[in-house]
Symmetry: D2
Subunit: 284 residues, 4 copies
């Protein structure tokens, strides 16, 4: 993630000849300097996806003017598109329970400048992590989960109040109600502690242990109404063996969970993830 001021243009549209020429022609015509360019055609869906990173200082206008001038071309090709401005950091609201390995990892990446986002608040159903979060100067919001419906209403309200762009379930251990999933499509990211679609739901490490698999994994995905079934952003696995207990699996799992979440989150934050049906295109 370079610190240069950039615009990132992401597009999806029906596939046909001439799209790259039209878009790169538009950029070139205004002197735009493309830093990174990626393309993909999803054959079954006959849909084209592209992502362009452009140096902001190479263009004679700002992001809004870019959007204004680009709109006609986008309409001509039937594009779903957006232009992100690297000067506008995304705002991540992180939800945690008691386990803090993912939170610890994300906050370190944030305070070291590796993860260029704003973290307006951390929300938890336990008080345990208040001191650690507040040491970072980040507001810590405790939510009582006794009344689940009310609790999730409050979470949604805080997310909006803090103008969150993305809600990160960093081992939150609570299942979001369908209504909440529908309310923020493509904006809620979860880390599941198995290599999906294996071991959906509760206690995946126990499930893995009982099945006798030789590797375990973790999956970072967008949350949808169906549990652990949303579009997968990133996954990875790690080797275990017969000598490992469930506790060992949990320990190995923590390392893979935080790695996979941080990678998936980086892709999302850098506008590298485009969704097509229940799959993702990740322009790494």
């Amino acid at each position: 993630m370079s610190s240069t001021h950039r615009y990132t243009l992401t597009i999806s549209c029906p596939d046909r000849a001439g799209i790259i020429a039209a878009v790169s022609g538009f950029i070139a015509q205004h002197g735009g300097f493309i830093v990174e360019a990626s393309y993909h055609t999803e054959q079954e869906a006959s849909r084209f996806f592209m992502r362009q990173e452009i140096r902001a200082d190479s263009l004679p206008f700002d992001a809004n003017e870019f959007r204004h001038r680009f709109a006609p071309l986008a309409q001509e090709f039937g594009m779903d598109w957006q232009l992100a401005d690297s000067a506008q950091k995304k705002r991540l609201v992180i939800l945690v329970s008691k386990q803090d390995h993912c939170l610890n990892d994300l906050l370190h990446r944030w305070r070291s400048g590796e993860l260029q986002v704003d973290i307006p608040c951390v929300i938890s159903n336990h008080e345990d992590l208040r001191s650690f979060v507040e040491w970072h100067g980040i507001p810590f919001v405790h939510i009582d989960m006794q009344d689940k419906a009310a609790a999730f209403e409050l979470i949604a309200a805080r997310f909006e109040q803090y103008r969150g762009d993305c809600m990160v379930l960093a081992r939150f251990m609570q299942i979001l109600p369908p209504a909440l999933c529908r309310r923020f499509p493509g904006r809620v990211i979860n880390i599941h502690h198995s290599f999906l679609p294996s071991f959906v739901g509760a206690k995946p490490y126990h499930q893995a242990y009982l099945r006798g698999v030789k590797l375990i994994g973790a999956t970072c995905h967008y949350v949808t109404e169906e549990l652990d079934a949303g579009p997968i952003i990133e996954q990875d696995t790690v080797r275990i063996d017969h000598g490992d207990t469930v506790d060992d699996l949990v320990r190995y799992g923590r390392d893979i969970e935080k790695t996979v979440l941080s990678r998936g989150l980086r892709y999302h934050v850098e506008d590298r993830v485009l969704v097509c049906g229940n799959k993702t295109i990740v322009f790494r």
Copy 2:
């Protein structure tokens, strides 16, 4: 796999103190030189597993005399045990269909001396691979699958006629009937082209493609009556991305399949795999 003459003693028994002392005491008392020793306790089952490789020339007697003398101690501890003699190569009967990447890989390991087994015959439901197999000087048995029941009877008969120790389904693409699975427990090894328990059954690469996973895998396991549910010996995964078609997955898959099968098979052939319920202990 060293070429030195060795005995491999594998034991499983109820866990208690003193087992290692008793067994290593027995070996030491006869001057036995232990080349490799591995131990494991399966906590839930309260069961102990061990494997010892002993240099044959360090003992004053042969394998049968070893078995004779060891029997009382084995009985005292309630052991399931066996002594394998590296001079007696295991006999692998390989079953294939048309896809030959696993067969090609196994035959190369065999002819280069890496896989120290005998291959008395290769069985197939197609004629395609006859010439390749026969070039190796290995009998090729073609079986017509029109009448499945009869075909599987014939396969079992050939396996026994050729005194097979282990039946290897090297992408055989046919589901073994339950009776056959029961007849050779722990002696039939399959390579499944997914990271089990994900994508059981047919067309796992298509299933993986549709689910949008970010890694695909392969699983080497013992065949049991329940499809793709037997004890797992070895697994591995490989990274894919959105640009990969189903054909690409199949291509990547071939490499991971042959690697996983050859590793699992080596563990089995070297008596490194002990089964406990539906799990395996693999003393690598």
Copy 3:
């Protein structure tokens, strides 16, 4: 590697704004349908690299006419470029010694259609692999290495006589003389059995064993005059441990060597590798 008829345009030129627009504009203007497009800027060298795969049937002319029409644009931007035609398979001449794991792997990929090349001949300084090569219907050329200078002259002569595009040193175990390296720049590919730059030269597995490393690797690279120092195309590593002997390292190494060579070779054959100084850009 799809079987559709495609043209692959690879370009490197000084970096500046408008290159993508110019090239994609040219293609679009003739109705060309881009199947895959990749771009990269090498910052230090201020040099731009691109690769486009275009469906041949989407263009109203053939490869030669494409080259003719594209030349002026290429000149304007100072491009080094070439257009490969998938209908013209590359011709690989494979050099081997006695170890055949890479050869066995490559020939299988070739006969299964995975590696879409022609193999006009296999050259070896030993007779051991003649029968295996000839079973494939491929001429086997034995070269006596007694007089090294004469032998390498003969190798070069055979390579040219068989109109080889690429010379593959598939564990050839002989060091090519500088003159030969200079004669076929970017056309000789070697697999070195270490994770370069560690363990250059002879017996890398012994070196690795003595140093006590915890992973070993293999490197596929273009051959240049300096031993094991040419541009790296592909590398990979595999975990070992203290229980592994040098023989075990050699065994693990074979698997990683053949995988890395086959991947690197595929990238080369599909025109995915562009060289920049002593580095490669690999558009996977």
Copy 4:
């Protein structure tokens, strides 16, 4: 790392028949329950290595009595040996500079109970990390490096004053003087940010970038007088590609460094690492 009270017996001695029998006989004779047992023979050195974890409550005496009774047997076999008591946590003194990814990782593992050690102090040549360390309730010792000789004297003094068992160079970025290396043999652990023996010394990521390698790595090793040449405990690699800048390599590197250091450190802390010449036996 189980929380049960255990004794860990580690032994190295000249190889001969009967060692396992003698040691396991001794343990069994006192009713000792072996939780984990590992053996290895280093062929070249003709030296035998073993590690036994024994449940403390299965023995009728304490660690000192164990040592007293075991001594004669140890002498008979010429053993180098030690008995570690899990009730006596090892004391790690961590040295850091400004980069805190390894420190952040280690302190999290410590405060979550995963890494069962005491951390009596953190030493740094910069003040930057004081607040973070002190939030953990750990003393932070700042050392001025202007006068290097004096500084290293002070470091050694603090290490001894805080009764450190192990000095961890968690990206300390300063080369320890030979005298200090000699003073604490096998007790100073470093994380080097390359896959040794490649890219010894300064700026390994720049070296890797210039060489154009396709994977980068990290190495956890014991510090000896020769720079980056001590016995390797753990290593790992991660894939990069041509699109990655030196900054990207540094970013990927941080993840691999902290993972490799934490693994190597865990092996050391759990007495899983035995040194043989310049190599390690790691009983994982």
